[in-house]
Structure formats: structure tokens, C-alpha cells
């Protein structure tokens, strides 16, 4: 760590941006310039900061063979005996998997699962279901972009939260699933272990969350987010998953495990609880230090420059939502920030979250993102500068943030936007959320700061936080080694 010099850092390599109707309608559908191409931006390797963060078997652009191999190995001990040649099977996927590192790793995992299930069971009626967040046409875009129709011989369908319902009996009454998710004899749950929105899931029932989100109709998503607290809400997916209806159909789960370095492996099993524990440990080890490093940033400008909504856009292999909440230790189950239901944005004074967005974020430059999630707090909590008229049009027409356009300014180019943002923020520390794994795309000034603060974040996690996180979940310290 100590030998890392800013002068030796290389050029940053941003993640792939997929074109979408939910992004700005520029000539190419892509930004004119990426944040990584700005003068003074460098790639700060995560490995050099924290050598003990689990290493990747795949990063964007690599050969996909390790994904295929890891998936096959993970499936080797999975019991598929429920599935017979006459069965119908739905492979359940979510849109976010296709955002991770360009989406091809997730695609390869799905393809491998399909082929192995066919080989081992003789079943050929295997269908793909693609669930989504709020962008209702996104599954259609995914199907086309990744040629999934061809992969599944036409047996592929979006699963939308407004689609026809199926009622699922749980100990708290009926909850509503999406019928298309469950319209086969059996289901295979294919997800990822990326940290994504820790403020929501708190690493509680992480593996099951899609059962009350991706696979659920809007009534149940609303029950989860609005009617329960930040920790208790994670009971909803567990109750659905454990329901007789789902258990009758569930065969096994497969998870693309990730760290800020990239994809670190594949976990699979018939029982989700052991996988839940594994992913929990992986999250502590993988993301704990990056989160604490982000907590060491006291002033910065953020550039949003990738595929998807800002909160889930990746920088240094970690989603932006983890910087917006970096001042809180959200792995700590004793910490109770406000829930989405209360509003995130104007918490009562007795709650620890005093501001909607980490005050260290002094300005936001929006170079490229997709609409599709309520995120007004980003524009009201700190100055937001949009890049280009197309981006302004996108924001102006966004029905999920109807007043956002009133809170932004627009610059003609990325350099102009950044120049203005730096003046407003009075800092030259810049970080880009550009989809990159394995390295943090940042300015030299921020790189210098992070290199100096990494040992402090490392020590705090090892000596103070990790023991607490483990103790709270009943882990024996030996399990964490």
C-alpha cells in the first residue's frame, strides 16, 4: 500500500454503456466524452489499496470461460432431481445482473445453467424470465441486446410488476407475485451477490430479496419498502420464499458473487441460507473496506457516467449508493437509518441520517445515466449539473422525478460541467461512477487522498467494525478467516 504513487497510476478504463430508451437521446445514444478521458483522471487499483479484497476470476472484457467453469463447478453438487424431462422450468433473472460489467458474465452464467440443466435432467422446456425495476421496456431491450430469444428458442419473456398476479399465502397474509415468474412447474433463482443497495437490504436475507422485489408485483414491493423498517422489511422476501407455494416450485439458486475487483466466483445450492451466510461474509470482506474508504472522503465532486440509474452505478466496483450513505456504517445492525417508507429524505431528528445525501458529495455531474427510479434527493441535497441538452430533456420528461429539472443546471460539455462543479464544490477531488471494477476512476488529488487514507480504513474495518459485524450475525470468527 505504502509504495503506491499517484504518478505511477494508469489511465482509467470505464465500463461499457448499453444504449437504452431510458438514457439521453444523443446521436449515438452514448455520451460524447467519458469521465475517464478528462485530463487528470487516473485509475486507482483496488488491489493496491486493499490486497486482501477477494480477487476476480472475471472483469469486463475478459474471456468468459472462467464464468462457465465456475458455474459448472457450483452446480456439480446441486440436486436437480425435482426436474424431469416433462417438467417446465423458469430461469428467473433480474435486470441488474445484465448491468454488471456489460452483462455478459451474467448472460454466460444463465446460458451455462440452462445447458447443464438440460444435460442432467433431460428437460427441454426451459424458459427465461427477465424481471425489472421501474423501466418497463428494459427487459425487451435486454432480450434483444443479449440475443436471449435465440438462446432460449423463443421461450423468453419480460416479467413486469404490473403483469397479471398470483397470490402467495404467507404468515402475514396474501402477498402478490408476478404470474409469469411462477407459471412453470419449477423455478431456478439466478441472481448476483453484488452489494448494490446496502441501505435497503442490510445484508439480511440478501439472497431472497428478489422474491419481494423482482419477482413481486407492485403491491408487494410497496409493502416491503413503505410499510416496514430498514431491517424488518427483509422479512418479506423470506416469508414469500418460505411459503409452501414457492417452496413447491423452487429448485435451486445460483449467484454471481462479486467484489470491487469483479466477479469472484459462483455460488449455487438448493438451500439459500448457507449461500446467504457466504455472501454476507464476502460482502464484509469485499465491500467493508471500500465503504470505509469512501467514508474517508470529506469533499468531492461525483461524475455519474454509466449504465443505469445513478444509485446503482458502479465506481471502484461499488455502487454510488454506497458513497451517498458512506458516512453511516450500514453493515452495523444497530444503526437504524430511516426507511424508504419514512422517506430517506427528511428523517426525524432522532435518526442518525441527518442529510439525504452524504455531505461529502459537494456536487454531482450527470454525464450519462438512465431514468427509472425516484431520486429527487440527489438534486435537492447537492448541486447537480447535467451534461448536454439531451440529458436535460431526459430529466425534464422523467415522470419519476417530476420536479428535478427545476433543481439542475445544464452545461454544454463534460469539461465545462466539471469545471463549474469544482468551483461550486471548492475541491479538486473528483470520483467517477463509470461502471469500472478493479479500479477507482478519480482525479489525481482524490487518488492521493485515498492512498493516504486506505490504511486507516483497513485498520478500522479489521480492528473495530468486522468483529462487530460478525458478532451481530452470530458468526464464529473462524468462519470469517
Amino acid at each position: 500500500m505504502s509504495t503506491l504513487e499517484v504518478a505511477s497510476l494508469g489511465k482509467a478504463k470505464p465500463g461499457y454503456i448499453r444504449k437504452s430508451m431510458y438514457g439521453p437521446a444523443t446521436d449515438t445514444g452514448l455520451p460524447k466524452m467519458r469521465a475517464a478521458d478528462l485530463p487528470g483522471m487516473v485509475a486507482l487499483p483496488v488491489q493496491a489499496l486493499f490486497p486482501d479484497i477477494p480477487k476476480a476470476i472475471y472483469v469486463e472484457g475478459d474471456d468468459l470461460a472462467p464464468i462457465r467453469k465456475a458455474t459448472a463447478e457450483a452446480l456439480a453438487n446441486v440436486d436437480m432431481s425435482k426436474i424431469t424431462p416433462d417438467s417446465s422450468v423458469n430461469i428467473l433473472t433480474s435486470q441488474y445482473g445484465f448491468m454488471i460489467m456489460g452483462g455478459f458474465a451474467y448472460r454466460e452464467m444463465v446460458r451455462t445453467i440452462k445447458e447443464i440443466v438440460e444435460q442432467r435432467t433431460g428437460c427441454t422446456n426451459i424458459r427465461l424470465r427477465i424481471a425489472t425495476g421501474f423501466r418497463l421496456k428494459e427487459p425487451e431491450e435486454i432480450i434483444e441486446h443479449y440475443e436471449l430469444d435465440k438462446m432460449f428458442n423463443g421461450k423468453v419473456s419480460p416479467a413486469l410488476y404490473i403483469d397479471r398476479a398470483i397470490a402467495i399465502d404467507t404468515p402475514i397474509g396474501k402477498l402478490m407475485g408476478i404470474r409469469k415468474i411462477y407459471d412453470a412447474d419449477y423455478i431456478i433463482h439466478v441472481h448476483h451477490g453484488e452489494l448494490r443497495e446496502l441501505d435497503m437490504h442490510r445484508m439480511i436475507s440478501r439472497t431472497m430479496k428478489p422474491f419481494s422485489m423482482s419477482y413481486a408485483r407492485f403491491e408487494t414491493r410497496s409493502v416491503h419498502h413503505m410499510n416496514f423498517g430498514p431491517r424488518s422489511s427483509n422479512l418479506i422476501p423470506r416469508l414469500i420464499f418460505e411459503s409452501p407455494f414457492v417452496q413447491q416450485k423452487f429448485t435451486f439458486g445460483v449467484f454471481m458473487a462479486a467484489s470491487p475487483q469483479g466477479v469472484v466466483g459462483v455460488e449455487a445450492g438448493n438451500d439459500l441460507m448457507p449461500i446467504d451466510r457466504k455472501l454476507m461474509l464476502l460482502a464484509f470482506k469485499s465491500y467493508g473496506k471500500i465503504r470505509e474508504l469512501y467514508n474517508e472522503i470529506k469533499d468531492c465532486v461525483c461524475i455519474i457516467d454509466g449504465t443505469g440509474e445513478p444509485r446503482y452505478m458502479v465506481g471502484g466496483g461499488t455502487t454510488f449508493g454506497n458513497l451517498t450513505e458512506a458516512e453511516l456504517d450500514l453493515f452495523d445492525l444497530d444503526t437504524v437509518p430511516v426507511s424508504l417508507g419514512f422517506g430517506l429524505y427528511q428523517p426525524p431528528p432522532t435518526q442518525p441520517k441527518l442529510k439525504a445525501v452524504n455531505p461529502a458529495i459537494r456536487a454531482l455531474v450527470m454525464n450519462h445515466f438512465w431514468t427509472g427510479v425516484p431520486q429527487m434527493e440527489l438534486a435537492t441535497a447537492c448541486p447537480m449539473i447535467l451534461v448536454g441538452r439531451e440529458m436535460f430533456k431526459l430529466v425534464k420528461e422523467d415522470c419519476m422525478n417530476i420536479n428535478m429539472a427545476r433543481h439542475v443546471v445544464t452545461a454544454e460539455s463534460l469539461p465545462a460541467a466539471l469545471s463549474f462543479a469544482k468551483k461550486v464544490a471548492q475541491t479538486d477531488k473528483v470520483i467517477a461512477f463509470d461502471g469500472a471494477y478493479g479500479a477507482i476512476t478519480c482525479s489525481e488529488a482524490l487518488a492521493d487522498h485515498l492512498i493516504k487514507r486506505a490504511p486507516i480504513a483497513h485498520r478500522r474495518v479489521e480492528e473495530e467494525l468486522m468483529p462487530k459485524w460478525l458478532r451481530q450475525r452470530g458468526f464464529d470468527p473462524s468462519e470469517a478467516l
Partner: protein
């Protein structure tokens, strides 16, 4: 105040009459006439659910010549009545009713006092359900129930009455899943 700048419009020659759009509209603004979808533009809140569900791309978004404004002034009704509805619904008046439109629960309660009887009425009065249509659905139903109003049965798969909240979890579930903070998380929702 919620300003609605757009509306949905059907392209009749593309509409196949599948009726999917009818049941996803949060304000029930869509009806079928001669096997074609017809949208009542006075009721359209421009949420775009119909556009999203239509696999034939037969519905498009159109800019309104003049924006439609929807707002319920909570200050114009009896504040004690607002508090009573919210208290019965276990919702703080300042809790969000709708994140997309930045509408608070007190405005939803005021809409009920002003005559809203259904979630669709509430959407039309307050302008909520004009964004994601997801989170506000539950809050509207909880407020209506808090006011003693029964939610009508779902029109096909339009909207199901499943409003379970942290306040309704049976004791045996609380005890069985004690590591989910079901008791402790009640403190998150400010008591009043």
C-alpha cells in the same frame, strides 16, 4: 403541486385490443371501445404504465399543450381530522405518500377529507401515481382504510388490497423471526 406535462395516446391502427393497458392504469382512465383502447385524457396522469405493458407499441407519450396541475391543499382542511386519519393508518403526516411527486401523507389524508373514496380518486386529486405507481399505491390504501373506507375488490389485476405493515405482524411471527427487528423497527416510524 404536481404538474403533469404529458399524456398517453393510443395509435388505433396498432392497437390489437388485448386490454392489458386497461388494468394497469392507476386512474382507470382506459376503456375499450370497438375493441380498441381509448384513453380519457382528463384522467391520464402520464405514469406510462400503459406504454410499458403494450407489446404492440400502440400507445405513445404526447406533450400536453398546457400542463395539468393537481394539488390538495392540506392546510384547507381540519388538521385534527388529518391527524386522526394518519394515526389510524399508523402513518406520520409527514411520511411520504409518493416519492416521485414529493407528496406527503397529510395531503393524501386531505384528499380523503375532500371526498376521495378510492385509490384512483386519490391519484386524481393529489397527482400521485403519476410516476413509478408503485410505492404510493400502498400508502393510499392505508390512508383510505385509516379513514374507515373499504377498498373495492380489484378490477381484474388492477390493484390488490394487501396493505400489511409492521404494525400488523402476528405475535407468533414476531417471535419466530426475532432477528428481523420487527419490534425495534417500529421506532423508525415516528410515533405521534
Amino acid at each position: 403541486m404536481v404538474q403533469i406535462n404529458y399524456r398517453a395516446e393510443v395509435i388505433p391502427e396498432k392497437c390489437t385490443g388485448c386490454v392489458d393497458c386497461v388494468f394497469v392504469c392507476p386512474t382507470l382512465a382506459i376503456k375499450m371501445e370497438a375493441r380498441k383502447a381509448v384513453i380519457d385524457e382528463t384522467k391520464c396522469v402520464s405514469c406510462q404504465n400503459c406504454i410499458g405493458i403494450c407489446t404492440d407499441d400502440a400507445i405513445v407519450k404526447i406533450e400536453r399543450p398546457e400542463p395539468v396541475e393537481r394539488e390538495v391543499d392540506y392546510a384547507s382542511v381540519d388538521q385534527d381530522e388529518i391527524l386522526e386519519i394518519c394515526r389510524r393508518a399508523n402513518i406520520h403526516p409527514m411520511q411520504w405518500l409518493c416519492l416521485c411527486t414529493s407528496t406527503r401523507a397529510r395531503e393524501g389524508a386531505a384528499a380523503i377529507i375532500k371526498g376521495a373514496k378510492t385509490p384512483e380518486d386519490m391519484a386524481l386529486l393529489t397527482g400521485t401515481r403519476s410516476g413509478c405507481t408503485v410505492y404510493c399505491a400502498m400508502m393510499s390504501m392505508r390512508l383510505l382504510k385509516g379513514a374507515g373506507i373499504n377498498i373495492p375488490p380489484s378490477h381484474k389485476w388492477h390493484l390488490f388490497d394487501t396493505t400489511q405493515s409492521i404494525w400488523d405482524v402476528p405475535k407468533e411471527v414476531v417471535e419466530k423471526y426475532s432477528d428481523y427487528f420487527l419490534v425495534e423497527d417500529k421506532d423508525v416510524f415516528r410515533k405521534f
